[in-house]
């Protein structure tokens, strides 16, 4: 039945074409179509489906008891708490920044705007490991501020503040990138109307702008949060890997894995995989409500340039 549906598939647009333009489906074309679909799906099963399935299968390979024990382990719970804490600081910071940046960029014209947009994107081009390294160079024992911090007994490296900083760097562009095109598409007519009717600046933002951008905002926060909770490379450099203290969930997975404790490693990993699946579900839901969000992050640059001309 599935094959029949595949073979019978035609362009949705074709059905609205005048009759003389419709091409009769040829057998050769349909075999080709089926083949292309099968190869594409095969590739996706190999590279997306199987890695996803293997996480859960390995996590449950020693039974539910081991699974629950791995997650209820005090070090695992500490890692979960730390991961949530770090995201709870990094995501709102980047959210406030994203709103401020997109307000300035979308509502006003100024010199150097496209350079600013490129600079905001910069962290995407930096390897996660280097994102951690630069903070070591600043706050590490032999870093610029290292001696001063040591004198005042302030710990940033190999402690929670360093993890928060590295995570904030890595997730820096997410909200701004989603919001800039959304705000540009909104224009500023609504805000100008509100102001002319006597609303204050803050009132205009809260009651006019925010409702207009809420889906884009949520979309950016969703992606930002997924990356914040899952970041590995940058956090690995600055964390110091102290069990129960500076281990986030991805780092805890690594430690368990390197100790050949595979079932436990995959059990914690399965929580992160669930988070990823929930993120994708939320993302699809938002895209279904607001189709223009789908390619936002990738084509933000394009749309930004379009908005400026």
């Amino acid at each position: 039945m599935n094959a029949a549906r595949v073979l019978g598939a035609t362009y949705a647009a074709d059905r609205t074409e005048p009759l003389h333009l419709r091409r009769r489906p040829r057998a050769g074309l349909n075999v080709m179509r089926l083949l292309l679909i099968l190869v594409a799906l095969g590739f996706l099963v190999l590279f997306i489906g199987m890695p996803l399935v293997v996480v859960f299968s390995q996590a449950l390979s020693k039974g539910w008891h081991t699974y629950v024990a791995a997650i209820a382990d005090p070090n695992a719970l500490a890692a979960i708490r730390l991961t949530v804490l770090v995201a709870a600081i990094a995501v709102p910071s980047n959210l406030v920044f994203g709103v401020a940046a997109s307000w300035a960029i979308a509502k006003f014209e100024f010199r150097g705007k496209s350079a600013l947009i490129t600079l905001i994107d910069l962290p995407f081009a930096v390897s996660p490991v280097i994102s951690g390294l630069i903070y070591v160079l600043l706050f590490g024992a032999s870093g610029w501020f290292g001696p001063w911090l040591m004198e005042h007994d302030i710990r940033i490296m190999f402690a929670v503040p360093g993890i928060v900083l590295a995570t904030t760097f890595v997730t820096f562009p997410f909200v701004a990138r989603e919001l800039i095109p959304v705000m540009q598409a909104q224009g500023k007519d609504d805000e100008e109307t509100a102001l002319s009717l006597g609303a204050s600046g803050w009132q205009t933002f809260w009651f006019v702008t925010l409702p207009n951008i809420r889906w884009g905002l949520l979309y950016g926060v969703l992606l930002c949060n997924a990356r914040a909770m899952g970041e590995f490379g940058a956090v690995s450099v600055v964390s110091g890997h102290i069990r129960g203290l500076t281990n986030t969930m991805p780092l805890h997975v690594e430690i368990l894995y390197n100790e050949y404790n595979y079932a436990a490693a995959f059990a914690v990993a399965s929580l992160l995989a669930l988070l990823a699946l929930m993120t994708l579900a939320g993302k699809s839901l938002l895209e279904w409500r607001r189709p223009e969000l789908k390619y936002g992050a990738l084509s933000a640059d394009r749309q930004t340039k379009r908005g400026m001309t």
Partner: protein, 286 residues
């Protein structure tokens, strides 16, 4: 003409800013950007400047460093190439054909964006290890993926796939079907239509997707280190070498290597921006 008139207007009259908050939001943006991104990044460049040119050159041309750079860039290029081919196919199938669970499949394409890299790393290793689901099948063929440079390519392919698919999809969706139908009525075969009519439009986004996937692969760490085996000179990627140097307190060596990668990534990023502008200009001309 219109642009220059507007520019002249601006130079005579200060632009009227009706909306409030420009100073506040731009100021906050610049301060936050500087504190989180620009100052820390410049630390890497200033630190390596202190090494002197000769020290810098010596640090980044050791055989171990060169081998890691070759692997990181070579594997990323190969993975991006695989993604260009299969990503185009996946995007094409998702845009043009109907099949069961299409929405679900479409959503799953973003999994590499959402799945933490460490999870991807151990999952791929479990699959391709000699006793894994895939490793068991290819082992008898003499093919080893896990703990070899080939494993690096597999991990980078996983991580780069959404970049190609998501760059191509919007362009494919906007393609003008009438042009294809015109080609078909003029007697072009399906393949001829693809090569002569569709392909020219697809080159810019395909190149952009390739470059994005390549850039991501070069810097990738989490998903690679588990499956790579990490043998110096053989399967050790550059980001891992940076960490190794850090752990040995070789800060200058780590920083020099980071600067090399940063310069290459920024060059790539500017190239991608130029590509997108080019693609957009071509798109706009239509």
């Amino acid at each position: 003409m219109a642009a220059s008139a507007a520019a002249m207007n601006q130079s005579f009259r200060r632009p009227r800013r009706v909306l409030p908050g420009f100073g506040l939001t731009l100021g906050y943006t610049l301060v936050y950007l500087s504190l989180i991104v620009l100052v820390p990044l410049s630390a890497a460049f200033l630190r390596s400047a202190g090494m002197g040119w000769e020290g810098f050159a010596a640090a980044v041309t050791t055989p171990r460093v060169l081998a890691s750079l070759r692997l990181s860039f070579g594997a990323a290029a190969l993975a991006a190439l695989i993604n260009a081919v299969f990503g185009l196919l996946v995007a094409w199938v998702l845009v043009r054909y109907q099949f069961p669970f299409k929405r679900f499949v479409d959503a799953l394409v973003d999994l590499p964006f959402a799945l933490p890299t460490a999870v991807a790393g151990i999952a791929l290793t479990a699959l391709y290890a000699p006793n894994g689901w895939i490793g068991r099948l290819i082992e008898p063929l003499g093919l080893k993926v896990a703990f070899t440079p080939l494993g690096v390519v597999v991990a980078m392919t996983f991580i780069g796939l959404p970049f190609v698919v998501r760059t191509l999809q919007p362009v494919l969706e906007e393609l003008d079907r009438e042009v294809e139908q015109a080609a078909a009525t003029l007697g072009a075969s399906g393949w001829q239509t693809f090569v002569r009519v569709i392909a020219p439009t697809l080159w810019p986004p395909l190149l952009t997707g390739f470059a994005l996937a390549f850039a991501r692969g070069v810097g990738e760490y989490g998903s690679v280190i588990f499956i790579a085996g990490n043998m110096p000179l053989v399967s050790e990627i550059t980001p891992l070498l940076i960490i190794t140097k850090l752990e040995q307190y070789d800060y200058p060596g780590a920083t020099a290597l980071a600067v090399v990668m940063l310069v290459m990534s920024f060059t790539l990023m500017l190239g991608i921006n130029a590509l997108q502008t080019w693609a957009h200009a071509r798109h706009g001309k239509k």
